[in-house]
C-alpha cells in the first residue's frame, strides 16, 4: 500500500474502487497476517491496514451468498465488530484472514436466512447479480472478456456460483467449514468445485473460448 499516503488527489478521487485490484490472494493473506500481528503488538494504524486489505474480500464473500448490497455491507461490518470482540480467540495470527472470511460466511448465511424469512418468495438469489435490462451503453463499456465470463457464471446453478466465488476470493478455503455452511458433505466440495469449473469451461467454450488461459 506504499504510495497510498502520498497519492495525488486526482487518483484518490478518480478510483473509488481503486483498492480492489484483482491481487493474488496469497499476497493479501500474508499482508493481512502481518497487519494483524503488528496491531496485536500495539501498532494502532495496522488495524486500518487490515480493514483496508480484507474488506474487499469480505464483500465478495458476502455477495457470494446472494445478499443484496446493503445487507452485504452489514455483514462486512458485523464481521469486523466480531473481530474486535473476539480477536483474542484467534490463536494463530497467521490465520486471521481465514478467520475473517469464515465469520463473514456465517454472517452472510444468517443474514440470507433472515432475509428469506422476511419475504414471501423462496427465491434464494435475492438480487440478480446483474440487472437484466442493462443499457447498451453499459454493455459496451464492459470488457468483452468480463462479459463472457460473467455470462458463463450466470448460467451456472446457484450452488456453483457461490462456491466458485467463495473459493476465488479465499486463498485457502476451509472445505470443512464451507461444507457446513453450504450444507454439503465435506468430501463433495472438491469434486463439486471441479464439476463447477467444468461447467464454466463448457459455457465459455460454447461462447467461442478456445481454452487458452490468456483469453480469459
Amino acid at each position: 500500500m506504499g504510495g497510498m499516503t502520498d497519492a495525488p488527489s486526482s487518483s484518490f478521487r478518480d478510483h473509488p474502487g481503486g483498492e480492489e485490484r484483482a491481487a493474488a490472494p496469497s499476497t493479501i493473506w500474508a499482508r493481512a497476517a502481518d497487519s494483524f500481528l503488528r496491531w496485536r503488538e500495539g501498532e494502532l494504524a495496522a488495524m486500518d491496514e487490515l480493514v483496508r486489505i480484507m474488506t474487499p474480500v469480505l464483500w465478495h464473500v458476502a455477495r457470494a451468498y446472494g445478499l443484496e448490497r446493503m445487507l452485504a455491507e452489514d455483514v462486512v461490518q458485523a464481521t469486523w465488530f466480531t473481530l474486535l470482540r473476539r480477536h483474542e480467540s484467534i490463536q494463530d495470527a497467521r490465520a486471521v484472514a481465514g478467520w475473517l472470511t469464515t465469520c463473514a460466511r456465517r454472517e452472510a448465511w444468517r443474514a440470507g436466512r433472515a432475509a428469506q424469512r422476511a419475504r414471501p418468495t423462496d427465491d434464494l438469489d435475492l438480487e440478480p447479480l446483474l440487472p437484466r435490462d442493462e443499457s447498451a451503453e453499459d454493455r459496451a463499456h464492459r470488457g468483452d472478456r468480463d462479459r463472457r465470463l460473467w455470462d458463463a457464471v450466470g448460467a451456472l446453478d446457484e450452488r456453483c456460483r457461490r462456491l466458485l466465488r467463495v473459493v476465488a476470493f479465499e486463498e485457502r478455503p476451509d472445505y470443512a467449514r464451507i461444507a457446513t455452511d453450504l450444507s454439503m458433505p465435506i468430501g463433495s466440495i472438491g469434486p463439486t468445485r471441479q464439476r463447477c469449473l467444468g461447467k464454466l469451461r463448457t459455457a465459455l467454450e460454447a461462447d467461442g473460448w478456445r481454452g487458452e488461459s490468456r483469453d480469459l
Partner: protein, 157 residues
Amino acid sequence: MTSETTPDDAALFAALRRTWSTLDPVPAGLVDDMIASVASADLGREYALLTLVESEATGAVRGDADMLTLQFSDGHTNVLVHITIAEGGSRRLDGWADGDVAEVRLIAHDAELQADSDGGRFSFDTIPAGIARLRVTLVAPPTPEAGTQLLTPRFEI
C-alpha cells in the same frame, strides 16, 4: 483437504476475481466507512473520539462558503480546522492541534493522506471535495490515562 489446483484452474479463478471485482465492485466508501467504524468501536482501547465543538462558515450560504472553520475537542486536545476552496474547486485544509503532534492523516475516499505537519500545524492542499475525517497521533498522551490517537467525526470538505 484442498484439492489440487492446476495452473489452468488458477488462471480461471484469477479471471473470475477480476470479473467480479469489475462488475460487482466493493461500494465506493465502504472501506473508508469500515476503517472509521472499526476505529470508533475500538474507542475504549485506543482512540479518543473528538467531538465537534464549533462550526462556522464564512460566506453567504453554507454551500458557497469561502471558508469553513471547525473545532474539535475531547476535553484534553483541541483541533482547529480551516477549509478553503482552492482553484478548480479542490479544497485546502489547514489545521492546528494544541497537543504535541506526531502525525496527522486525512481519511477519505478509501484512501489516507498524510499531512505536511510542523509541530501542531498541518495542512493538506488540493484535496477533493467530499466527506472526510482526520486522525491525529500525538507524541505523548496529554494526561497519563489519555490515549495518543484522536479521531474526528466525519465532516464535509
